[in-house]
């Protein structure tokens, strides 16, 4: 009779996460959601300005391929005091890049608890849930929770209006130039006529 082989308990499923800092507060994000981590300086070289009175958290955008990616200041998004950010996360499968203070560490979580239902405002959009790590509780952010579809629509529309306004400005300027050129042309013709007249006299 063969001895019973020891029963192997199935390995606990874990998820790799990045713990990051924003104004002294620690958050977690799935590392699979972060496409790229860059320094703020490298971003500012390619970023363009944008401003909308209702979306102070977005001040820049970058073009990546055919998409516009909006740069969200995480401190302003969460209503935390702002400090100059050092890093930017470009988030996968979203049109968001996130300004943060720094990375704390990479670790893994084995359990994600749904956000208790007592939390019933925007935080339900912000967080996937909460996880307990080293006797502490860390909120796990939703990558697509930084900009809602409505906010993206507003930002896209704002840029579209800006582009229209720019186009109109350029068209007006061109029209003025054309008019001026026409007027100058007419004056030149007149001058030639006068000269011609004076010559004949």
């Amino acid at each position: 009779m063969r001895p019973l082989s020891p029963v192997k308990s199935p390995a606990a499923r874990t998820e790799q996460i990045i713990l990051f800092r924003v104004s002294g507060q620690i958050f977690a994000i799935s590392s699979a959601s972060v496409q790229e981590v860059r320094g703020v300086d490298s971003l500012s070289a390619v970023a363009k300005e944008i401003s909308h009175p209702d979306l102070h958290k977005v001040k820049q955008y970058v073009r990546r391929g055919e998409y516009l990616v909006y740069v969200v200041n995480a401190a302003l998004h969460f209503g935390l005091p702002t400090v100059p950010p050092a890093l930017v996360f470009v988030l996968r499968r979203t049109r968001t890049a996130l300004l943060i203070d720094g990375i704390e560490k990479m670790t893994s979580m084995s359990r994600l608890q749904a956000l208790p239902q007592a939390f019933c405002h925007e935080e339900r959009v912000w967080y996937r849930g909460l996880t307990a790590l080293d006797q502490s509780v860390v909120p796990v952010v939703k990558p697509d929770g930084f900009l809602t579809p409505e906010e993206l629509f507003i930002l896209d529309a704002s840029l579209s209006r800006k582009a229209d306004a720019q186009e109109k400005l350029e068209a007006d300027a061109q029209e003025k130039l054309d008019t001026l050129a026409q007027e100058n042309g007419a004056e030149d013709d007149g001058a030639e006529n006068i000269s011609d007249t004076s010559l004949t006299q």
Partner: protein, 159 residues
């Protein structure tokens, strides 16, 4: 004791908030624990202070004293962990209390139409008339407050 009286008796936990006492039906109470570290993170639900870790669960802390006695409890002796129902689901919520809690068996008088929604009945105990609390009406939940995205959604964006 007659059979009729015995069936009318219910168990309640009496809790203290400042100078006042309130009651919660005992079957809604999970446990009474000493105050532990509150973990705070950004959110917009003013009634929730943060969360505590209890037996591997993450439990929101809801200070109901402001609604009931007009100010927050200054000294917290315990967290009364109650079960709060959200439709078919129940979740734990931790209510800070400022004094000892007591388990009593007594009859409850049903509330009248004019009573506030947080009152699910009345008890008479030790010469006091005590409100029996409706935890669902006192603590926040998704049905009470909609997610505040309306102002942005209502904006018109032109192409």
């Amino acid at each position: 004791m007659t059979l009729a009286t015995a069936t009318d008796l219910q168990s309640f936990v009496l809790l203290r908030l400042g100078d006042r006492r309130f009651a919660v039906t005992a079957n809604q109470i999970a446990e009474l624990v000493a105050p532990s570290r509150i973990f705070r993170f950004p959110h917009h639900t003013a009634e929730v202070e943060g969360v505590i870790l209890r037996r591997g669960r993450i439990v929101p802390v809801c200070d109901v004293a402001e609604k009931l006695i007009g100010n927050k409890v200054k000294s917290r002796r315990f967290y009364l962990i109650a079960q709060r129902s959200y439709g078919a689901q129940t979740e734990w919520v931790a209510l800070p209390v400022s004094g000892d809690c007591e388990l009593i068996n007594t009859e409850m008088t049903l509330p009248s139409d004019t009573d506030a929604p947080h009152i699910s009945g009345w008890l008479s105990h030790g010469g006091d008339v005590i409100e029996v609390l409706n935890i669902a009406a006192l603590t926040p939940g998704p049905t009470e407050i909609p997610i505040a995205t309306a102002p942005l959604a209502q904006q018109e964006a032109r192409p």
